[in-house]
C-alpha cells in the first residue's frame, strides 16, 4: 500500500503547481522582494515533499532518482562558485558583481530611492539566486526522498 487516499492525491496534485509557481516566483524576484534562493527553494521543496507524502516514496522513486537530484544539486553549487570566480575574472575580486552597469543581462541600475521594481536589475544576484534555488530544491527534496524511501515498511519492499 503506497501513498494515501485518492482525495489526498487529487488535492495535492491540484495544489502542487501553485506551490511550485510561488516558489519559483520567490526565487526569480529575490533581488526585488523579500526572499531569495534559499527561501523559494524551501517552498518548492516542501511542495515536492507534499507530493512525496501523498503518493508514497516508491511511486516517486520510480520516476525521480536520487542520483539525478544529486547531480542537479552539484550543478547548482558549481554555477554558484563559477559566478563568484567570474567576478574574479571580469571584475576585480572574488564575488565581484561584474554585470552591474553593463545594461545587458540583469545589468540595469535602477533609480535610487523607492520606485517601481525592474526585474532586469541586480547584476549577478538573480543568477546566483537561480543557482542557489536549484541547489536548495534538489538538495532538500533529495534528503526527504532518500529518508522516506529508506524508512518504508517491510510489505512495501516487495
Amino acid at each position: 500500500m503506497s501513498g494515501m487516499s485518492k482525495i489526498v492525491k487529487t488535492i495535492s496534485g491540484i495544489a502542487f503547481p501553485f506551490i511550485t509557481i510561488y516558489g519559483l516566483y520567490v526565487i526569480a524576484h529575490g533581488h526585488l522582494t523579500p526572499g531569495g534562493g534559499f527561501q523559494g527553494g524551501a517552498i518548492v521543496a516542501s511542495g515536492c515533499a507534499m507530493v512525496l507524502v501523498s503518493y508514497g516514496s516508491i511511486w516517486i522513486m520510480d520516476r525521480v532518482k536520487e542520483k539525478n537530484l544529486s547531480i542537479l544539486e552539484s550543478l547548482g553549487a558549481i554555477c554558484f562558485i563559477l559566478l563568484a570566480i567570474l567576478g574574479l575574472g571580469f571584475g576585480t575580486v572574488f564575488f565581484n558583481n561584474f554585470l552591474v552597469g553593463t545594461n545587458s543581462l540583469f545589468g540595469v541600475v535602477p533609480a535610487a530611492g523607492s520606485g517601481l521594481a525592474d526585474i532586469n536589475t541586480g547584476g549577478v544576484i538573480p543568477l546566483m539566486n537561480f543557482a542557489v534555488g536549484l541547489k536548495v530544491i534538489a538538495g532538500l527534496f533529495g534528503i526527504v526522498l532518500v529518508m522516506a524511501y529508506a524508512s518504508r515498511t517491510k510489505e512495501e519492499k516487495k
Binding site: V100, V109, A112, M128
Partner: protein
Amino acid sequence: MISRRDIAAVLSFSIVAMFFIFGALIIHPFGTPDETGMDDNIITNAQTETGANNAVTSVVFDYRGFDTLGEATILFTAVAAVIMVFRRLKK
C-alpha cells in the same frame, strides 16, 4: 546517589548558562548599534552599487558573498552525508 559526573555536568552547565545570561545583560538595546557607519553605507549605496532593490539580498549575495558560499557548502555537505548514509539502507 549523586555521582561526581553529575556534579561536573551541573557545574559546567551553570558556567555556560552564566556566560549566556551575562552576555544577554550587557548587550546593547535593539535598534541602536554602537557603530552605524557600515549600516548607513550599505543602506545608501546598495541600490546604486549592486543594482538590486532588495538591500538584504544585495548584502547576502554581494557584500557578504562568502557567508552564502559557506551556507551553500553546509547544505551540500548535509545532503551528501544523508544520501551517503541512507544509500546503504536501500536493499
